[in-house]
């Protein structure tokens, strides 16, 4: 079952840390969002392998936007 990681708030994408194909565990940052002058790591809720990264650095995301898919 795929797991979607979505933006929690309006933010800009600061940097992408992981890549498609990487296996990540909860608490491991996949990317960094920037909002309210804060750099906020985005992590998976459950372990998985990244199958898609839907954004690039500089993109503006809104609350609920898809960031990453994991399988």
């Amino acid at each position: 079952m795929s797991q979607a990681v979505r933006a929690e708030m309006v933010a800009s994408v600061h940097s992408i840390i992981a890549a498609v194909g990487d296996r990540v565990v909860p608490g491991e940052p996949i990317m960094i969002l920037e909002s309210m002058k804060m750099e906020i790591p985005v992590c998976a809720d459950a372990p998985g392998t990244i199958t898609e990264i839907s954004v690039q650095p500089g993109d503006v995301v809104r609350e609920g936007d898809l960031l990453v898919l994991l399988a």
């Binding site: 708030m9 909002s35 804060m38």
Partner: protein, 466 residues
């Protein structure tokens, strides 16, 4: 005292569940054991006196009739008289239909007893099966609601929902751990099993009943600064800092998944029960918003009512902006936190670890709201907003004239200038909004000493489920 039940007793029966709650399975019933659907008892939990009741799902699905409701009121009367916590174990379909309006009257009397006891004796609910209708509002009126994996809380069941709204839902989606642990805020703690739920109730009951006194010699300093990342802009999870501040292994978080941008919970410091409120930068950057303000407000009022001192760890960039927040009532719900702190009379110490900006600065137990003491770590900022954001407003025209490639540099220079003028943390100390700059390596003992030296009083008010 009656002893542990024999092995062939129904595990859902009040007798079995009360035995699992009390020390050594021992308790003394204070109401008759018959078909009234509720059994109330007194006993010990971790050595502390506790009154408890359990609904009986083996009789009419645990439905509450007038006699059963009277048994709950008896439990409350006893808890009131003995001045001890009351734990309710819920597995009930609600009011007994066959008793008609008499059962509704009984349920209403339970609600009235709970409200009379509110803020006077600690009330803990453990929901271990469906708790519907009146049985949903019973737990909801209490201070802490714990739900096991089998717990479900809803006003109207799936069939009624389907017939009225057409929504095809099951009990889990309506009122399980996901909706109540994460969305509604009804449940404070969700667990994977009934045994864990009762275990959490036991740990909380003793934290509330035997608060202990602060032993300053038992509080050693630790470098709490080590829990922060190197970059001041980088978000981090505040849980290790909270756990590091309190005595090892004592922290019990409430509402962990609901409004996770603020962390609230109980633990011990130097052996004394202490509440913690902390912004969590890892979620929403640590911003306050309508839900987190409401969550913290309710927690602060509970601690105030039960004479539990508070530690407030502040790292907040502001209130979360947006249409959604305004329409959700961030003004009304944010006001609850201001009200809660301003009326709070228990010792309450603030530590600004990195930053406190704007309205969120005020709300997080500021000096102006009557904090016992406000400390700041050496690199902390206390301001209306961050210096770059401030100069972008103050020098809007001047910045507009600067070529784009040079703007970042000019902004940095103006921000540095602004910090000198507005004074940073030094100025905050001068005007008295921060009492003292304290090093992270001595914060633990410094705060503990303040809590020790401040007379313990309690707020005289109920704990309405905000």
């Amino acid at each position: 005292m009656s002893q542990s039940p024999s092995v062939d007793i129904d595990p859902r029966s009040p007798r079995a569940r009360l035995a699992a709650l009390f020390d050594d399975g021992a308790f003394t019933p204070i109401t008759p054991e018959d078909d009234r659907g509720v059994l109330s008892a007194v006993g010990q939990v971790h050595g502390a006196r506790v009154v408890a009741f359990a609904t009986d799902p083996t009789v009419q699905g645990g439905a509450m009739g007038s006699q059963g409701c009277r048994a709950i009121v008896t439990a409350y009367d006893r808890a009131f008289a003995d001045h001890c916590p009351v734990v309710g174990i819920w597995h009930s379909g609600g009011a007994r239909l066959r008793e008609g309006v008499a059962s509704l009257d009984g349920v209403g009397r339970v609600f009235a007893a709970m409200t009379r006891a509110s803020g006077k004796v600690p009330q803990i609910s453990v929901v271990v099966g469906p708790a519907a209708g009146g049985a949903a509002y019973g737990p909801a009126l209490t201070d802490v609601v714990i739900m096991s994996d089998a717990g479900r809380i809803f006003v109207t069941g799936p069939e009624v929902v389907r017939s009225v709204t057409g929504e095809d839902v099951n009990m889990d989606i309506l009122g399980g751990a996901e909706p109540h642990g994460r969305r509604s805020g009804v449940v404070h703690i969700t667990t994977d099993s009934e045994a864990q739920a009762l275990g959490q109730a036991r740990d909380l009951a003793v934290l509330l009943a035997h608060q202990g006194s602060l032993d300053i010699d038992a509080v050693a300093d630790r470098d709490l600064g080590a829990y922060l990342p190197e970059s001041a802009r980088r978000a981090y999870d505040v849980h290790p800092l909270v756990e590091g501040f309190l005595d090892d292994g004592t922290f019990i978080e409430l509402h962990a998944r609901w409004a996770p941008n603020i962390v609230v919970g109980l633990g011990r410091l130097g052996g004394r029960t202490t509440g913690v409120v902390a912004n969590n930068p890892m979620r929403l950057g640590g911003c306050l918003d309508s839900a987190s303000a409401e969550k913290a407000a309710r927690f602060v009022r509970m601690c105030d009512a039960f004479a539990i001192p508070l530690i407030v760890l502040v790292d907040v960039p502001g209130y979360l902006p947006g249409l959604g927040q305004e329409w959700e009532g961030v003004v009304r719900r944010g006001a609850k936190l201001l009200h809660a702190f301003a009326e709070c009379v228990v010792p309450r110490v603030t530590v600004v670890t990195r930053k406190a900006y704007g309205g969120a600065y005020v709300a997080m137990n500021s000096s102006s709201l009557g904090a016992t003491r406000v400390f700041a770590w050496p690199d902390a900022e206390v301001a209306v907003m961050g210096s770059v954001a401030a100069i972008r407003i103050l020098h809007r025209r001047r910045l507009a004239e600067v070529p784009e490639d040079a703007r970042a540099q000019v902004e940095l220079e103006l921000a540095a200038e602004h910090e000198v003028i507005s004074g940073g943390i030094k100025r905050a100390v001068e005007i008295g909004v921060v009492d003292e700059v304290v090093d992270p390596t001595v914060t633990r003992t410094t705060v503990a000493r303040i809590l020790l030296d401040t007379p313990g009083v309690r707020g005289v008010h109920g704990n309405i489920p905000l």
